[in-house]
Symmetry: C2
């Protein structure tokens, strides 16, 4: 066979010597012998045991496709070879920006979310309870971060909740975790983008009517950035993250300095204050709601554990460092904001016009350039939180596609080694959510965060099982940490689900079984097919050649149908040509012409269809020729004319299209489509053609 | 060949004796010899020189298609054979109802339309000028009827404006006439149905919000009736026409009797009278507008001449009698209504709440059962006017499709011998117009009647040319009659176009060139293709057998792809199997498995695609194998898995579909689609299969 010979690929050139080749073929040479001479540079180069397609093989012809290709390159850059994958991996610095933006951006609103619930009970509760609640949430975060440290160590190949839950708890807990995460990824994009755009439209109200359009355009921008691949996306998105981090640290340092020196500024009054005596009684449920609202801060923690393989080596170590850094940065900013806000005595704004962070910044630095720096960085970072989902979802989907719980396209890397299908699917669904909810943050937020805590709980429970099974060194401590994590996140999940149930969390709870059923359905489908199609490697098999019966329906004797006949006859089997007429005269005229043009070479059957049906008698004729002999497939040869313009297609081939659809489901039947283009070889004798021209 | 033998079709039965057959084949017997034994009753019966498909050949299998078939039979009845066409022809009695309903129904509003314009100048003008205008219109109608008598005599095959104009004036006048008629047919349906439904909703105002839905449902009803075929449609639609005719004649006889005996009733006052002194000055333009409004009465005259072939023999005679009857009946009613209305002194109602006909009927018979009979029959007949278009348009379209100015589907007769495509296209476009104009008669009416008079003028002018060319006996008289017709209808066309131009007639004038260009484009396309495809019958041709190169892309070794390989190998040409891997390990593993399963039977090429592209390297590989040798086509064999449910299709074959689209336009390339169903023959050795089970 060709792959065993050592002939240099471009040594011989028999191109055009058709006669010679056919003689070679008749002498019984195996076809493979000649491939070496034909498949060669520049499109292919010869590699050990086969060919490798070069970049030349991807070149396109034609003006339109050339334009498409240039636009593609402009938008997402040159193609990357699979072996360049390691070049796409990211450092800790970039990784922090990519995977931590969602989590760190929560610090922009976590304090306020908790305060707003406490303010319902009165200003005193805000002052007294904001700090304790912040500390409680940071403790939960610490537990989660520690738990995920263990997850990364145990699953260096990438340990999302889906993998951990399905490996340790079983397929269905895994699918529940995956579905919960998928819902949350979609919502992360929709909520973050809508929130970022809301920040823009509150600064420029004339843009408010276009908020849906701006939001969708932002999603498209994020999609394009992510299709460029991980490293470039990281490079684009790293700057705002670091500006936010540094500006916040500066602000907090200044604030602590002024508190330490006793120079505490006055709290600017909110536009519309909550009534200081409160609007409802303080209850445990209210406290829990405040906790649930603040715990939005924990979203995005999963991302690092999911994306371990995106880091340069040592992957596991880099991921763990990034996770710790993320937790530390977030906790510092969160604690700092809560401490300074309560110390200064800032109260949330009932009208939602100005954020607590904005009030805090204003009280510390006034409406200076620094104020605008902090606010601008915050707005951009809120939008970039969506980027975490753009990294999380495609990775999760690709892992699930490999496990055959998702359509297999999700496992394929695109031109830039990103999981393009996942990125585009995420963009499509989140754009749909934005349009459906009219880009309203208030409408979307109650659906958010339930999913992530369900996934956390399942994953931490899975880790407990993992340690109990492994019983490696120090498994007790590890199991306790993950057990604590499971309990903490489980409690938060229940609190969030209960306190937000009526506002929209019920939708998430309702959709989970549907998603799980869908994922399972996809899996069962693929598995069922593989059971049918795959051949056990232990079974000795031998290919049995099938000798088909060939049927050529001919509606008119013209160059297109003669070409189909010429090819059908060239296949060398039994050929049945059949013509359907609506009346006897038509059949007679057709046979006369047939005798003139085709003669005896191929036998013709004519069928008169008095009810003017074409499809039904033809199918019955095929049945008659087929006779259910399973060892002999039927090939139906269809001549199709290809018009010059695609829209002319509507004037042709309607019958052929219907017939193809119908034959596609007919057992033991294959369809040979013979298109006729203007430039195709003419099936008529060369001499006859000469006479004509 | 089979069609020359005399073997009784069911004498031998070799079904199942596959081995025997193959031996026969190897002995070199022509395949046709055996068809006689296989193609046989009950699905086929043997007729002189071929087979005829019986009704059994149309039987369907499967529950869904059985249900569809039963619904179809229930709605439109059993299938009719082409030879039953003469049974579908209609008598003069039914023909009058089918082809005259549009014209006769105009008598319900023609008088009023003319009166309403005259009333703008004052009540005196109504009283003085209604009768003269009516007579003038009847004179034009008489000229048109006489002209069409001549058309029918000259074109007994059906002489619509299109045929007459294109045969005598040239292709483009013919196309203009056809386009004008097509526009008018669409509008006839939309206007008639909207007017009929308006009559219903003015009686039952609670139905007004549903008028669009009721209108479209009426169109669907008319469509179903017409799909049942001409005779049945005639039977359904004849009754209301005759009720209208008899009740109107009764009413007019009573009115004339009372006028003759001096017992003239008092005119009931209209709900809201026009100001008796008039609203604007009386001008020639106003008179012309009144004439244009009244000449809506001439629409529908074309139908009889177009449908000559729908009559029983003697077709020409029957059509002419029906045309004369139609003109006489219409003129009688029109003159009668105008005479009685002006004699009694009825004035039109400014608020459009009650029609002149209703006022006249009420004044003669009071609000009795007879009043309701006349009003009911009028409402139904108004809707049935649409039916004339349902007969006219499909016939016109079928004639144009034969001439290749319309897609050829329009020339095919459906199960009931009606031109189904035309009927459905008419229903679709007119429903669209109804929805677009919100079923408003006022919005639609200005577009109406321009087209019909343009077509009339062209057709009559064509007839003058016809007589001048023929110069048969009495050609002078004939030419004068048609010349008069051309002048009269031409004048009406100009009057209608000018007086209605701003209100909407401009749209019709603007769309005509577009339609003509479209029809011509379709014609040029079909003609261009035939020039390329058809073979002159004088040229001696001989089929040259093409020996294709066969390429089988294999993505995975499974039963589906092995089946494709088995069939490809069975075709007996050069077979190239090719596999594309993303990396070297994949290629190596694949080759190992290939050697195990397929062995040396078919040579394999493996291509490594480092950029993860499938399509581009495969196309380049096909290019390499093809080498542009025009005499040897390339066949690409694609294995496709057919899932159990159609919606599972989305999980499969995406690459195959894209590849098929791409290869469809590749020169000299055919695609063999090998679907794999669960029940298909297994390509593996029987023994291997036994081991497995």
């Amino acid at each position: 066979m060709s792959e065993d010979t050592d002939t240099p690929p471009d040594a011989h050139d028999p191109v055009g010597s058709g006669g010679l080749e056919r003689r070679e073929e008749l002498r019984g040479r195996r076809p493979g012998d000649r491939v070496v001479k034909i498949v060669r540079p520049p499109a292919f180069r010869r590699t050990e045991g086969g060919f490798t397609a070069t970049e030349k093989a991807l070149e396109t012809r034609g003006r339109v496709s050339h334009l498409v290709e240039r636009t593609r390159r402009l938008l997402i850059g040159r193609r990357l070879a699979t072996e360049e994958e390691h070049l796409e991996r990211v450092s800790k610095k970039v990784g922090l920006a990519i995977f931590a933006s969602d989590n760190i951006s929560s610090s922009a609103y976590a304090t306020e979310e908790a305060m707003r619930i406490l303010a319902l009970a009165g200003a005193g509760f805000v002052a007294a309870l904001t700090m304790p609640l912040t500390v409680a949430i940071v403790v939960v975060l610490a537990i989660v971060v520690l738990s995920y440290q263990q997850v990364i160590r145990a699953y260096p190949q990438g340990g999302g909740s889906y993998i951990v839950a399905s490996e340790n708890l079983g397929v269905f807990p895994g699918l529940i975790a995956a579905s919960a995460l998928v819902v949350d990824y979609f919502l992360t994009v929709a909520v973050s983008v809508a929130a970022g755009v809301a920040a823009i439209t509150s600064a420029a109200p004339e843009l408010f009517p276009h908020r849906v359009l701006i939001s969708v355009a932002t999603v498209v921008l994020l999609t394009t950035g992510n299709l460029r691949g991980l490293r470039e996306a990281g490079r684009i998105f790293a700057v705002p993250t670091y500006i936010y981090l540094f500006s916040m640290f500066g602000l907090l340092a200044l604030g602590l300095w002024r508190v330490a020196t006793g120079d505490v500024p006055a709290a600017p009054p909110p536009i519309e204050a909550f009534p200081p005596e409160g609007m409802q009684a303080f209850t445990v449920l209210l406290l829990l709601r405040a906790f649930a609202s603040g715990s939005v801060a924990l979203t995005g923690t999963e991302a690092v554990a999911n994306g371990v393989q995106a880091f340069k080596s040592d992957e596991s170590w880099n991921a763990r460092v990034v996770l710790i850094l993320m937790g530390t940065f977030f906790a510092t900013i969160f604690l700092g904001i809560s401490f300074l806000s309560t110390t200064i005595g800032i109260q949330p704004d009932l009208s939602e016009t100005e954020t607590v962070n904005s009030l805090l910044t204003r009280s510390l630095v006034g409406t200076s350039w620094y104020f605008y720096l902090v606010q601008g960085a915050t707005a951009i970072l809120l939008v970039l939180a969506a980027n975490t989902a753009f990294n999380g979802f495609p990775r999760l989907a690709s892992i699930m596609a490999v496990d055959r719980f998702m359509p297999r396209q999700f496992a394929q890397r695109g031109d830039r080694l990103a999981f393009s299908t996942g990125i585009i699917a995420l963009a499509a669904v989140s754009s749909f959510l934005i349009v459906a909810y009219n880009a309203s943050v208030t409408g979307l937020i109650p659906l958010y965060t339930v999913g992530v805590f369900i996934a956390f709980t399942l994953s931490q429970t899975g880790m407990v099982r993992h340690w109990m099974r492994e019983r490696g060194r120090g498994w007790h401590a590890s199991a306790v940490i993950n057990g604590l994590g499971a309990i903490a996140t489980g409690l938060v999940a229940i609190i969030v689900a209960v306190s937000k149930f009526e506002a929209g969390a019920w939708m998430v709870v309702a959709i989970l079984p549907v998603l799980v059923a869908m994922l399972w359905g996809i899996h069962r489908h693929y598995r069922g097919i593989e059971d049918r199609l795959l051949i056990a490697s232990t079974v000795p098999v031998r290919l049995q050649i099938a000798h088909p019966r060939i049927i050529v329906p001919i509606s008119r004797i013209d160059r297109a149908s003669l070409r189909a006949l010429a090819i059908a006859k060239g296949l060398g089997g039994e050929v049945y040509a059949v013509h359907i007429s609506f009346d006897a005269e038509g059949a007679k005229a057709f046979k006369q012409r047939w005798r003139q043009v085709v003669g005896d070479a191929i036998a013709l059957d004519t069928i008169i269809s008095p009810y003017r049906a074409l499809m039904a008698p033809l199918l019955k004729y095929i049945d008659a020729i087929d006779r259910g002999d399973h060892s002999r497939p039927v090939i139906v040869v269809l001549a199709e004319f290809v018009p010059r313009h695609w829209w002319e297609q509507v004037l042709h081939n309607q019958t052929a299209l219907l017939l193809k659809l119908r034959l596609f489901v007919r057992p033991n039947t294959a369809v040979l489509d013979v298109p006729y283009h203007l430039g195709d070889a003419d099936p008529l004798d060369v001499e006859a053609d000469k006479v004509r021209r």
